[in-house]
C-alpha cells in the first residue's frame, strides 16, 4: 500500500476510541456470521463481505451529523451497521425474511432505511454516485444543511457516470462527499490493471473538485479527513473527494476463489495493517482499556450478532401476498 501509517491523533478521547473499536468489531463479527450463514445455505445469491474495510465507514460516520445521508454499492452491510441500522433487520434481509429492512424483497445488495437516511444498497456498479449527488441536490434545494456521503469502489471509479456527476456536482456546488473505497480490486481486476491513473482522487482536479488520499486502515485518519470534507461541504463550497485506501480480506463475493492475489498478500495486510488491531493496540498501550475490558466487549458483540442471526433464522419468510405489494405507491411519504 502506498500510504504511510499515520500516527493516531491525540485529540481523540478514550471513550470515542472505544466506541470506534466496538463499531468496527460489530461489523467484523457480523460479516463473519453472515459468511457462516451463507455457508449453511441460509443466505443466498450474491453476498459481499466488508471485512478489512471497517475503518472506512466507522471513521466517516464519526464525522457525520444527524440528518446527513449515505448511499453505497452492494457491499453495504458495514455502512448500514455504522449508520445505526439494527443488525437484526439487516441480517433478516440477508436471509430473505419478513423481519428484514426490505421485508425480504431486496436482499443483501438492496437495502434501505429512510429513518437512518441510508439510501441503498445499489447493485449496478456506479449508479449510486449520481444518486448520491441527487440527494445532495435535494438537500441544497431544501436548504436543510445536509451532507451526503456517496461511496463507491475503485472499479466503479471507471464508470462514465461518475465523471458526469463530478461535473454537475461542481457546477451546482452540491454538498456531496465522493468516497472512493479503494480496496485495490474490482472482483479480480487490480487497480494497476484497470487504469494508468496514478491516483483516483486526482481525477477530480479535471472538474475542479478538491480531494485527498486517506489511510483507510486507520480509523482516526479517516475520521479526520471526513471532518475536513464535511466542513468543506457544509460551508457551501461544493463537493469533495476522499480516496480511502483500504483492503478487503475476503473474496469479492462468497464464491470468489481469489486466484488473482496471493495468500501472503492478504495475510500481510491482516498482520500489519488491521484496522481493529490498530485501535486495540492504542487502547491497551494508552491504558484506556484492559484485556478484560476488551474481552467483555467482544462477548457483548458476539451476543448482539448471535441475536441477529437467531432473529434472521426465526423471522418467517414474507407472506406470499408480498409478491404483489410495493410495486406502486398510492402515497409515498415525503421527507419532512
Amino acid at each position: 500500500m502506498a500510504t504511510k501509517k499515520k500516527p493516531a491523533k491525540s485529540n481523540v478521547s478514550a471513550e470515542e476510541l472505544l466506541g470506534h473499536y466496538k463499531e468496527m468489531l460489530l461489523i467484523r463479527r457480523f460479516e463473519e456470521k453472515a459468511g457462516q450463514l451463507y455457508g449453511m445455505g441460509l443466505i443466498g445469491g450474491f453476498c459481499h463481505l466488508y471485512i478489512g474495510q471497517e475503518a472506512v465507514v466507522v471513521g466517516l460516520e464519526a464525522a457525520a451529523s444527524e440528518g446527513d445521508k449515505r448511499v453505497t454499492s452492494y457491499r453495504d452491510h458495514g455502512h448500514m451497521l455504522a449508520c445505526g441500522m439494527d443488525p437484526k433487520g439487516v441480517m433478516a434481509e440477508l436471509t430473505g425474511r419478513e423481519g428484514g429492512y426490505s421485508r425480504g424483497k431486496g436482499g443483501s445488495m438492496h437495502m434501505f432505511s429512510k429513518e437512518k437516511h441510508f439510501y441503498g444498497g445499489h447493485g449496478i456498479v456506479g449508479a449510486q454516485v449520481p444518486i448520491g449527488a441527487g440527494l445532495a441536490f435535494a438537500d441544497k434545494y431544501l436548504e436543510n444543511g445536509g451532507v451526503t456521503f456517496a461511496y463507491f469502489g475503485d472499479g466503479a471509479a471507471n464508470q462514465g457516470q461518475v465523471y458526469e456527476t463530478y461535473n454537475m456536482a461542481m457546477i451546482w456546488d452540491l454538498p456531496v462527499i465522493f468516497v472512493i473505497e479503494n480496496n485495490q480490486y474490482a472482483m479480480g481486476t487490480s487497480v494497476q490493471r484497470s487504469t494508468k491513473s496514478p491516483s483516483l482522487w486526482e481525477r477530480g482536479a479535471a472538474y475542479g473538485i478538491p480531494g485527498e488520499e486517506v489511510d483507510g486502515m486507520d480509523v482516526l485518519a479517516v475520521k479526520e479527513a471526513g471532518e475536513k470534507a464535511v466542513a468543506h461541504c457544509r460551508a457551501g463550497k461544493g463537493p469533495y473527494i476522499l480516496e480511502i485506501k483500504t483492503y478487503r480480506y475476503r473474496g469479492h463475493s462468497m464464491s470468489d476463489p481469489a486466484k488473482y492475489r496471493t495468500r501472503e498478500e492478504v495475510q500481510k495486510m491482516r498482520d500489519e495493517r488491521d484496522p481493529i488491531e490498530q485501535v486495540r493496540d492504542l487502547l491497551l498501550t494508552g491504558k484506556h482499556a484492559t484485556e478484560e475490558d476488551l474481552k467483555a466487549i467482544d462477548k457483548d458483540i458476539k451476543a448482539v450478532v448471535n441475536e441477529a442471526a437467531e432473529f434472521s433464522k426465526e423471522s418467517p419468510e414474507p407472506a406470499l401476498e408480498e409478491l404483489y405489494t410495493d410495486i406502486y405507491a398510492d402515497e409515498v411519504p415525503q421527507e419532512a
Binding site: 463473519e32 457462516q36 455457508g39 449453511m40 445455505g41 471485512i51 445521508k69 448511499v71 429492512y101 426490505s102 421485508r103 424483497k105 431486496g106 438492496h110 437495502m111 434501505f112 432505511s113 429512510k114 439510501y119 441503498g120 445499489h122 447493485g123 449496478i124 449508479a127 449520481p130 444518486i131 448520491g132 449527488a133 441527487g134 440527494l135 445532495a136 441536490f137 435535494a138 438537500d139 434545494y141 431544501l142 457516470q161 458526469e164 456527476t165 461535473n167 454537475m168 462468497m254 464464491s255 476463489p257 486466484k259 495468500r263 491482516r270 406470499l320 401476498e321 409478491l323 404483489y324 405489494t325 410495493d326 410495486i327 406502486y328 405507491a329 402515497e331 409515498v332 415525503q334 421527507e335
Partner: protein, 456 residues
C-alpha cells in the same frame, strides 16, 4: 461448548463438494479468519476460513473426501478448557438443511377472465365547460407551470430547458417565472443528470426530467429502470421515486434511424413504471398534471409532430385526467380501433374514410399504456367483435401484440376475426423521403386492416 464446523456452501449453486485439503490438524489453535481447509466447489477450489475460535478437537471428514454434502459436520472446535471427550462419538445426524419447502404457487393477481369489465366512462370535464384552442406545446407548458405553482418541490431539469426555452420550446417562459433554481439547464449528460434526478426524488423533491428526445434517454435507461422503477419494491415500500421523465418520442420528420424510435413498448414492460402517451392537447395537459402528482416514476412520451397541433382544452382551475383511463374518441359498432399517441391521427382518419363506406369504427385512445385500461378495450370488442391496433413503433413485441393477447385471453369468444396490429415496419427508420413514408404506419394501411377484419 464444542462447536461443529459444517461443510459450507461456497457458491450460490453449490450442494456438495470435495474436502480437498485440511490446513490444520487436531490440537491446533484456531483463530477466526484463519484458513483451515481447501474445498472444491462446482466452480473452483476455495479457501475455507474459520469463524469461531478454539482448539481443533476432531477432524470428522478426511481430506480427499468427495461429495461431502453442504452442512455436514466436518470438524469439531473446542473452547478453552474443553478436551476431546466433549466430542460426541457418533457422527451427529446430517445437519438440518434449510427447510426445503415445496414452492408454493404464487397467488395470481386477481384477473377477472369474465367479460364486461368495470371501465371508468366518466367524462373528462363537465358538460358546458368553456373550451380554448391550445397547442400541445402550450398545454404541456401550462401543466408544468400550474404544478410548479402548486408544489415548491416540483422542478424541471434537462438540456436547454431554461435559457433556450426548450429545444422544442415546451418550457417557454418557465425560467422567467420560476428562476434558475427550479428550471435547470444541464450539461449534455443524460446518464448523470437522470441519476441525479432519481437521487433528488429519493431526497424529497419531485423532479421533471426533460429528454430532448427519448432516443437520448437510452443513455439514462439504467436509472429509469433499475434506480427509479425498482426501488419502491426493493425497499419494501420505504422509498420510491416520485418523478416524471418526459420528452419527444418516436419519429419526427426526416431525422433518420437514431432520432426516430418509439419506445412505448419498451417502457410499458416494466413493473414500477407508469407510461403515458397522449395525443390531444387536453390529454397532454390533464395527464401531465396527474403524472407530476403521482408518487411513482412516470414515463411521459410526447411527439414532436404533435407539439404544434391545436386542440380544444377545457378552461378550468385545476384540470386533471386520471392515469389508466382510456377514452372512446369516436363511437362505432362494426370494429374497434385501439391506438395512442400519434397513432390516433391514423386511427381517426381511417375511421372517417371507413364511415364514408358505411363501416362504423369505434376508436379508443389508450392515453396511458401502463396501467392499461384493458376494460374499455374488452367492452368495446364485445360490442364490435373485431379489433385492430395502430401504433408507430416496431411490430415485434409491440403494444398491439399485448392487446391481441389480452383479447385472446379475455374475449376470445367475442372475436369474429383475428386481431390485426398496424405498426411501423420492422426496419430502422430510413432518411429518404419515399422510404420514410413506407416505414411509417399509414391511414391506408389502417383502412385496409379494418376491411380485412370486417370482411368488407
Amino acid at each position: 461448548m464444542a462447536t461443529e464446523i459444517l461443510m459450507p456452501a461456497l457458491s450460490p449453486t453449490m450442494e456438495e463438494g470435495t474436502l480437498a485439503k485440511w490446513l490444520v490438524k487436531e490440537g491446533d489453535e484456531i483463530t477466526s479468519g484463519m484458513i483451515i481447509a481447501e474445498i472444491e466447489t462446482d466452480k473452483a477450489t476455495m479457501e475455507f476460513e474459520a469463524v469461531d475460535e478454539g482448539t481443533m478437537g476432531k477432524i470428522m471428514v478426511d481430506e480427499g473426501t468427495e461429495g461431502v454434502k453442504v452442512n455436514t459436520p466436518i470438524a469439531v472446535l473446542l473452547e478453552e478448557g474443553e478436551d476431546a471427550s466433549a466430542v460426541p462419538d457418533a457422527a451427529p445426524p446430517a445437519a438440518a438443511q434449510p427447510e426445503e419447502k415445496a414452492a408454493a404457487p404464487a397467488p395470481v393477481a386477481a384477473e377477472v377472465a369474465t367479460p364486461v369489465q368495470q371501465a371508468d366512462t366518466s367524462p373528462d370535464w363537465p358538460k358546458g365547460t368553456e373550451m380554448k384552442s391550445t397547442t400541445v406545446r402550450e398545454a404541456l407548458r401550462d401543466a408544468m407551470a400550474e404544478e410548479m405553482r402548486r408544489d415548491e418541490t416540483v422542478y424541471l431539469m434537462g438540456e436547454e430547458v431554461a435559457e433556450y426555452q426548450g429545444a422544442y420550446k415546451v418550457s417557454q417562459g418557465l425560467l422567467d417565472e420560476f428562476s434558475a433554481k427550479r428550471v435547470i439547464d444541464t450539461p449534455i449528460t443524460e446518464h448523470g443528470f437522470t441519476g441525479i434526478a432519481v437521487g433528488a426524488a429519493f431526497g424529497g423533491l419531485r423532479p421533471i426530467v426533460e429528454f430532448m428526445t427519448f432516443n437520448f434517454a437510452l443513455q439514462a435507461i439504467d436509472h429509469i429502470i433499475n434506480s427509479a422503477a425498482k426501488t419502491l419494491y426493493m425497499s419494501g415500500g420505504q422509498m420510491g421515486a416520485p418523478m416524471v421523465f418526459r420528452g419527444a418520442n418516436g419519429a419526427a420528420a426526416r431525422v433518420g434511424a437514431q432520432h426516430s424510435h418509439d419506445f412505448a413498448a419498451w417502457y410499458s414492460q416494466v413493473p414500477g413504471l407508469k407510461v403515458v402517451m397522449p395525443y390531444s392537447a387536453a390529454d397532454a395537459k390533464g395527464l401531465l398534471k396527474t403524472a407530476i402528482r403521482d408518487p411513482n416514476p412516470v414515463v411521459f412520451l410526447e411527439n414532436e409532430i404533435l407539439y404544434g397541433r391545436s386542440f380544444d382544452v377545457p378552461v378550468m382551475d385545476d384540470f386533471t385526467i386520471p392515469l389508466g383511463k382510456a377514452k372512446i374518441a369516436r363511437e362505432g359498432t362494426d370494429l374497434t380501433i385501439v391506438s395512442f399517441g400519434i397513432g390516433m391521427q391514423y386511427a381517426l382518419e381511417a375511421a372517417e374514410k371507413l364511415a364514408a363506406d358505411g363501416i362504423s369504427a369505434e376508436v379508443i385512445d389508450l392515453r396511458t399504456l401502463r396501467p392499461m385500461d384493458t376494460a374499455t378495450v374488452i367492452n368495446s370488442v364485445m360490442k364490435t367483435n373485431r379489433c385492430i391496433t395502430v401504433e408507430e413503433g416496431f411490430p415485434v413485441c409491440s403494444i398491439g401484440n399485448h392487446i391481441s393477447a389480452v383479447l385472446m385471453e379475455n374475449a376470445f369468444d367475442y372475436l369474429d376475426a383475428p386481431v390485426i396490429n398496424c405498426t411501423g415496419k420492422d426496419v430502422p427508420m430510413p432518411y429518404a423521403a419515399n422510404l420514410e413514408k413506407l416505414a411509417l404506419v399509414t391511414t391506408d394501411e389502417v383502412v385496409e386492416a379494418a376491411r380485412k377484419v370486417t370482411y368488407r
